[in-house]
């Protein structure tokens, strides 16, 4: 069955409205280009604009009078129109996260979270700008079917998008008046297209190199069930980086280093042309200002090979995460415009030791797969033949004492998933607990992404460690996280649905993952220090409350003084980073107080024997 066809605007309107199936949309909201496909009765059609083009450049233009246009660069001067490109890079990010040069000016949003982009028509949020692109795509669909008939849309995001970036994408769709059936990872969408249209089965690698992002997923495709086994990538590596590598070479060769603004943009454009020429020719000539030179393939390869190597490392890691070897891979599917590069194909093919699959247009395949999944989620009959099992791309967890991240659901866990873990109180009589929900791979909270904070209040006063607080994480099939905390002895209860407000820095996810390996040793040392500090403070706290309760009745003045002296010393040492001394002092205090503890226990047993519960003794 040929699943894919191309529809001219308006052409199939009558046919579509005649069916009882509700059509659904698949949208690839890309950094450089966006596309929309429509699914009905298991057939997917890529929707074209009036000029017969499926690709909509993800570029939005604002004029002073408020007019908005989307698409090709108008070429008009900045005084007449503000042009915004690559807005996807701003989605779900805070202003502090944006550390690269932009073509437009940003300002901090008064409510915090994502920054606003200054335009001639006023300040716009990245969500608003993305919504403009989505509106144009939705209009294309409504030229073929009436809006009321559309069941909703599946919108694709990079597999490596975190919760904040996903939420921003959802918000943009809502703003554009689209019902979101699901957000789907781009490589997964591509796999769906291959699985359904090409009847591809086996253990598949999806290598997705776009303009600005790289994703790799390992999937098992079998009898209509598509299982994501592991996913990885680099949120800040794409074909655009090839252009930049050539530009750097030109600047070096020409001795022109202070090039910026429009001149640099023009240089990048020329480098892109040269890049495409080198796909066909042995060399390309580049003329930049007074300089002219020849870029040979060998030089070009030396420039881009390190970038390609980075993607192959991510492939190796995904295989390891899945516990599989190169021999287990049955097919390698190429997705994304940058995979048209012969050098990329050559390297990837050599790495996996097999020919590559690119039988579906690598730029259109994501939107098509998204439309197929949308058809399933719209409840259309065709969907019964297929099922998609997705994973969470980044670990989810909670902050524990000492600023440490305790992972509750590790990355690459199949969703939906529910996991719970028990925690306890740190201080005697602690009546509230603050919960900090995190996303990331590193051990320290400061290196992870903060998703939400909430409190469990009204815990009855108990000795430290007696309360049993169960923290449950639930991620549904849409990837939405709900966190719940419950004190088990009382049934006290508090919960939050995670809706993060702003995102990680560009490249942070990849960086966080890489660092979690590179700095595992450093993390461990730091973790050990933090644990020792916490342990020291816990001893001090426990002894403090024991002294308050029974110090006067069980100890002599000099004994109390000795303990207090030792506690003061430990307090001072615990502020330092000298793990060995903290450990030694904690141990010393423990020795010193052991006699007191024994006396307390004896007293406790005596009291218990006379009819008192130990709860009263604390």
């Amino acid at each position: 069955m040929a699943l894919f066809s191309i529809a001219e605007p308006g052409q199939s309107k009558a046919r579509l409205s005649a069916t009882r199936h509700k059509p659904a949309l698949g949208i690839d909201l890309g950094t450089t280009n966006s596309l929309v496909a429509i699914a009905r009765e298991g057939t997917v059609e890529l929707l074209l604009d009036g000029h017969g083009s499926a690709l909509l450049p993800s570029v939005v233009h604002y004029q002073r009078n408020g007019a908005v246009t989307v698409g090709e660069d108008s070429g008009k001067h900045a005084s007449v129109v503000t042009t915004i490109s690559s807005v996807k890079r701003l989605m779900g990010r805070g202003i502090a996260d944006i550390n690269y040069r932009l073509s437009c000016e940003l300002e901090a949003s008064p409510e915090g979270g994502m920054p606003l982009i200054k335009t001639l028509a006023g300040s716009k949020s990245p969500v608003q700008v993305s919504a403009e692109i989505l509106k144009v795509l939705a209009d294309r669909a409504m030229a073929t079917v009436s809006g009321a008939d559309i069941a909703g849309a599946v919108i694709t995001v990079p597999a490596y998008f975190d919760e904040a970036q996903r939420q921003a994408t959802r918000d943009a769709a809502t703003l554009a008046g689209l019902k979101v059936l699901r957000l789907l990872s781009e490589p997964t969408a591509a796999a769906v297209a291959y699985g359904l249209d090409k009847k591809l089965e086996g253990t598949i690698i999806i290598y997705d190199l776009g303009g600005g992002t790289f994703d790799v997923s390992l999937m098992k495709l079998q009898r209509g069930i598509f299982e994501v086994v592991a996913t990885g990538g680099n949120a800040a590596l794409g074909g655009d980086d090839f252009d930049r590598a050539i530009a750097d070479w030109v600047l070096q060769e020409s001795g022109e280093h202070s090039v910026a603004g429009p001149a640099y943009a023009e240089l990048l454009r020329m480098c892109r042309v040269a890049k495409h020429q080198l796909s066909e020719q042995e060399s390309a000539s580049i003329r930049f200002q007074a300089w002219q030179g020849e870029l040979h393939r060998a030089t070009y390869f030396a420039l881009i090979d390190p970038l390609i190597e980075t993607t192959l490392l991510a492939c190796r890691r995904v295989l390891r995460d899945a516990g599989l070897g190169l021999d287990d891979v049955s097919d390698v599917v190429m997705v994304g415009g940058a995979t048209r590069s012969p050098r990329v194909q050559e390297k990837v093919s050599a790495f996996f030791g097999k020919p590559l699959l690119a039988t579906i247009d690598p730029e259109a395949v994501v939107a098509m797969g998204a439309a197929l999944q949308a058809d399933v989620l719209a409840g259309n009959k065709y969907g019964e033949e297929m099922l998609l099992l997705d994973v969470i791309p980044l670990s989810l967890g909670i902050e524990t004492m000492g600023g440490l991240m305790e992972k509750i659901i590790p990355r690459n866990t199949t969703i939906p998933v529910a996991r719970a873990q028990e925690f306890t109180t740190y201080k005697d009589g602690q009546t509230a607990m603050s919960l900090h929900v995190l996303q990331g791979e590193r051990e320290l909270v400061s290196d992870c992404r903060s998703l939400a904070r909430f409190e469990l209040k009204g815990i009855p006063p108990m000795v430290a460690g007696a309360a049993r607080i169960r923290v449950s994480f639930q991620v549904d099939a849409d990837g939405l996280l709900q966190v719940e905390a419950q004190e088990m002895t009382t049934g006290l209860h508090s919960s939050v649905v995670i809706k993060p407000s702003y995102g990680l820095q560009e490249g942070d996810i990849e960086k966080m993952l890489r660092e979690s390996y590179a700095s595992a040793a450093a993390d461990k040392a730091l973790r050990s220090l933090k644990e020792k500090q916490v342990e020291a403070w816990r001893h001090i706290e426990a002894l403090e409350s024991a002294l308050e309760a029974d110090g006067d009745s069980l100890l002599s003045k000099s004994e109390i003084e000795g303990l207090r002296q030792s506690m003061t010393e430990l307090r001072q040492v615990a502020e330092t980073t000298d793990a060995a001394r903290i450990d030694a002092m904690t141990h010393a205090l423990n020795q010193l107080s052991s006699d007191f503890a024994a006396r307390r226990m004896d007293a406790g047993i005596k009291q218990a024997l006379t009819g008192h519960t130990l709860d009263e003794i604390g």
């Binding site: 890691r317 998933v417 740190y426």
Partner: protein, 203 residues
Amino acid sequence: MARVSASESGLFLKQTPLLQSTVRNITLNTAVSDFFAVLQLPVACEIDPAILERNYRSLQSQWHPDRFASGSQTERLAAVQRTSLLNDAYTTLKSPLLRAAHLLQLKGVDVTSVSQSQLAPAFLLKQMELRDELEELIGRSELTGLEQLGKRVQQDRQQLWLEFTALFDSGKLEQAQRNYYELQFTQRLLEETRAAEDRLLGY
């Protein structure tokens, strides 16, 4: 309120690890769910991975929330709960280590805490030697050495697993529990060896 035992009330007596950190991983149901039953498999140490995968996929096809995309809220919620349990069961049974822990739990053996006194001195000594070797290999950045160490530890793990199977099947649960702890140690060493390899490879 539950009575607090004397040893718990004198908290500073004990050399406990970071208490407010994890106590244990538990499933959402307070009682231990039988993951073998969930996946329609007989309770056994060895399972056929092909049958495990086949059953998992077939149950996913029936239960997955996407099957109830146009169903009621209640139906979808039930689907989420059932597939969450199914995913947990699959993850647990797929890994021999997690499966071993689950088998012991089903027999009422607590596997959440381990003290070194429960382990044989000879085993601990060997672990210390292997760890020294790992540190040395890391210090000298020896990739092939790490790979070989990884292979040896993997063989140890396989041997321990066979022992666990024999002990568990003959009902020697206490010994099986100790064996499980040894498996845990070995697994951790293997993971650290692989992480070291990753660092050298530049991941």
